[in-house]
C-alpha cells in the first residue's frame, strides 16, 4: 500500500508539472521554470518557519509568491537594466537559491528541512504523513496536496486553453486582438510557482525541473496537436513515476532521482526513435556529425 501511495504521488507530481511544462516548452520558457523551482526555496523555508510543521499547505501558498518575484526580477534585469536574458535568469535564481540554502543550514535545528531534502525531496516518507478524519486515515497529506494542485491546474488549463494557445503560438497577433499577453504570462508563471512549491516536499528542486521539461519534450517530438501533447505528457509522467519507483528499489537509491532518470530514459528512446524515423525518411544521404556548441 505504501508503494502505491508513493507511486501515485510521484505520478501526480509528474502530471502537474508536465501539463504546465508543455506550455513552458512551447513558449521557450523552460529555463524560467527552472529558475522558479530554485528560487522558491527561501519562500518555502519561511513558510515552514511560520507553520512550524511540515505540512502547512496554506502557508506554502505564500511561498509561491517567490516564484512571481523571480519572474518579476528576471524581467526587471532584462528589460530595465538591459542585461541579457540568460544572465538575468542565472543571477536571479542562483542568488535566491543560495539565500534559501543558507537559511536551511542556519535553521536546520528549528525547521524540519535539510539540504538533501531540498534537492531531492523525501517522497519515501509520503506514506507516513497521513491525514486523519476521526480514526480513519484518508491518505497521505502529500497526495491530497497534489490532488488539489491537479484540480487547480486542470481548471486553469481547461478554462484558459484558447488564451494560452494563442499567446503561446503568436503573441504578436494576440496583442493585435487586444489580448493581454503579459497577464497570461504571469498567470502561467504563478501556477508554475504554486505547483513547484507543492511538489517540493516530494521531489525537491532540481527534480521538479525534470518533470517540467522532460516528459513534455518527449511528447513534443511525437505529437501533432496540443491536446495530444498533453495526453502523452501525462502518460509519460505516469510511466516515469512507476518505472522510476521500481528502478529505485532495484538500485537501492533515491526514488525521485530514479523517477527523473526514468523520464530521461523515456526521452532518450523517443529521441532515438524520431531520429531513426527521420533518417529512413530522408534516405542515406544525410550528413550527421556531432559538434558540441562551443561554450
Amino acid at each position: 500500500m505504501n508503494d502505491f501511495w508513493i507511486i501515485l504521488t510521484g505520478a501526480l507530481v509528474a502530471i502537474n508539472c508536465g501539463l504546465l511544462g508543455v506550455y513552458l516548452v512551447l513558449r521557450k520558457m523552460t529555463l524560467i521554470g527552472d529558475a522558479i523551482s530554485h528560487a522558491v526555496l527561501p519562500g518555502i523555508v519561511l513558510a515552514y518557519l511560520v507553520a512550524q510543521s511540515r505540512s502547512g499547505p496554506v502557508v506554502l501558498l505564500g511561498a509561491a509568491v517567490f516564484g512571481l518575484i523571480t519572474t518579476f526580477l528576471i524581467e526587471l534585469f532584462h528589460k530595465k537594466l538591459k542585461l541579457q536574458a540568460d544572465a538575468s535568469i542565472g543571477i536571479t535564481f542562483t542568488w535566491l537559491f543560495a539565500v534559501g540554502v543558507i537559511m536551511v543550514s542556519a535553521l536546520s535545528g528549528n525547521v524540519d528541512l535539510d539540504q538533501d531534502c531540498v534537492l531531492y525531496g523525501e517522497i519515501a516518507y509520503v506514506p507516513f504523513d497521513l491525514i486523519y478524519i476521526g480514526e480513519k486515515s484518508v491518505g497521505p497529506v502529500a497526495l491530497w496536496m497534489q490532488g488539489g494542485n491537479l484540480l487547480a491546474t486542470a481548471v486553469l488549463i481547461f478554462w484558459g486553453y484558447r488564451g494560452f494557445f494563442i499567446s503561446s503560438f503568436d503573441p504578436g497577433y494576440a496583442s493585435g486582438l487586444g489580448i493581454r499577453t503579459g497577464v497570461w504570462h504571469y498567470v502561467l508563471m504563478g501556477m508554475v510557482s504554486l505547483t513547484v512549491v507543492m511538489s517540493f516536499n516530494a521531489v525537491g528542486a532540481i527534480l521538479v525541473v525534470a518533470f517540467l521539461a522532460v516528459p513534455p519534450a518527449a511528447a513534443y517530438l511525437l505529437t501533432k496537436s496540443l491536446h495530444t501533447m498533453m495526453a502523452v505528457t501525462v502518460a509519460f509522467g505516469v510511466i516515469s513515476a512507476a518505472g522510476g519507483f521500481y528502478l529505485a528499489q532495484w538500485l537501492n537509491a533515491s526514488i525521485s532521482g530514479s523517477m527523473a532518470v526514468m523520464a530521461g530514459l523515456l526521452f532518450l528512446s523517443v529521441f532515438l526513435f524520431s531520429l531513426l524515423k527521420r533518417y529512413f525518411r530522408k534516405g542515406k544521404n544525410s550528413q550527421y556529425h556531432l559538434d558540441p556548441k562551443p561554450l
Binding site: G172, S175, G176, G178, I179, T223, K224
Partner: protein, 260 residues
C-alpha cells in the same frame, strides 16, 4: 474616407528613433504598399499602429478612431518567421484563431465560427490541408494560412508584414487574387512589401519610408526618381547622427508635456 492616418509619429527601438515625425493618410478601399530600404521602420510602423510597440509621440487613427475602439475591424498578419512553425497545431487550429476575440476567450467557439473559418480556408485554397500540421507546410502554404486566419476575422482593414517574402509564384498569385477581391469588396489592405519592382504592379497607393516619410500618395505620384533617390539613397546622415545622440543620452525624446 480615410482608413489609416499617422500624425507626427515617432517610435524608438532600443532608445533609438526608428520612425521620425511620420505623417500620412491612406484612403479606404485601396491596396497600399509601405516601401523602403531595410531598417527604414516599415515593420515598426505596423507594430506601432497595432499598439504592439509604444510610440514616443504622435498617434495613429483607424477610420478616425484610436485602435482600442476598432480592434474588431483591423486584422494583423505578422511576418511569417515571427512564429515557430514547429508548434503542435493544425491548419484549422490556426485559422480558427481569427475568430478569437478578447471577449470570447473563455467560452467555446460557436458553430458559425467554425463555418466562417472553414470558408476562409476554402478561399485561400487550403481546405484539404485543414487537419495538416503546420510544420508540414511550405512557405507559401503557411502564408495562405495566415491570410485565412485574417479573413476569418472578417475585418475591414488588413495590416500585413511582408506577406510575399519567400513564397512560391503560385501562392503569390493566389494571395494577390484574394487581396484584389478584398479591395473590390471595399476593404483596405496596407502591406509592408520588400520588393520595389513588384510594388509598382501590386499597389494603388504607396507610402515611401526611410525613417521619415519620403512621400505618400497614388503610386504614379510617389514613385518618381527624386523620391526614390531620397528614400533609397542612404540614410540622412545628419538625422542618423542626431538619432545616435538621442540613443547615447538615453533621454526621453519628448519633454514632459508643458502645454506648449
Amino acid at each position: 474616407m480615410t482608413s489609416l492616418e499617422a500624425h507626427n509619429l515617432t517610435v524608438s527601438y532600443d532608445r533609438q528613433p526608428v520612425l521620425w515625425n511620420v505623417d500620412f493618410e491612406v484612403p479606404a478601399g485601396n491596396l497600399v504598399g509601405i516601401i523602403g530600404p531595410n531598417g527604414s521602420g516599415k515593420t515598426t510602423l505596423l507594430k506601432a499602429a497595432m499598439g504592439i510597440l509604444p510610440a514616443d509621440s504622435g498617434y495613429i487613427r483607424f477610420f478616425g478612431k484610436p485602435i482600442a475602439e476598432v480592434r474588431d475591424r483591423i486584422s494583423y498578419v505578422p511576418q511569417r518567421q515571427s512564429v515557430d512553425w514547429d508548434f503542435p497545431a493544425s491548419v484549422m487550429d490556426v485559422c480558427l484563431m481569427g475568430r478569437y476575440r478578447k471577449g470570447n476567450l473563455f467560452g467555446r467557439l460557436s458553430q458559425i465560427d467554425h463555418e466562417i473559418a472553414a470558408e476562409a480556408l476554402h478561399r485561400v485554397g487550403m481546405s484539404e490541408f485543414a487537419r495538416r500540421q503546420i510544420s508540414e507546410l511550405s512557405g507559401g502554404q503557411q502564408q495562405r494560412v495566415f491570410i485565412a486566419r485574417s479573413l476569418a476575422q472578417q475585418a475591414d482593414m488588413y495590416l500585413m508584414d511582408e506577406p510575399f517574402a519567400g513564397i512560391d509564384a503560385s501562392s503569390e498569385e493566389s494571395i494577390l487574387a484574394i487581396l484584389r477581391e478584398l479591395k473590390s469588396a471595399g476593404k483596405t489592405v496596407v502591406m509592408v512589401h520588400h520588393d520595389l519592382h513588384t510594388a509598382i504592379e501590386f499597389f494603388d497607393w504607396i507610402v515611401l519610408l526611410n525613417t521619415r516619410l519620403v512621400a505618400s500618395g497614388p503610386k504614379a505620384e510617389v514613385l518618381t526618381e527624386e523620391n526614390l533617390r531620397s528614400a533609397y539613397g542612404g540614410k540622412l546622415t545628419l538625422l542618423s547622427r542626431v538619432a545616435d545622440l538621442v540613443k547615447q543620452q538615453g533621454f526621453p525624446l519628448r519633454e514632459k508635456s508643458t502645454g506648449d
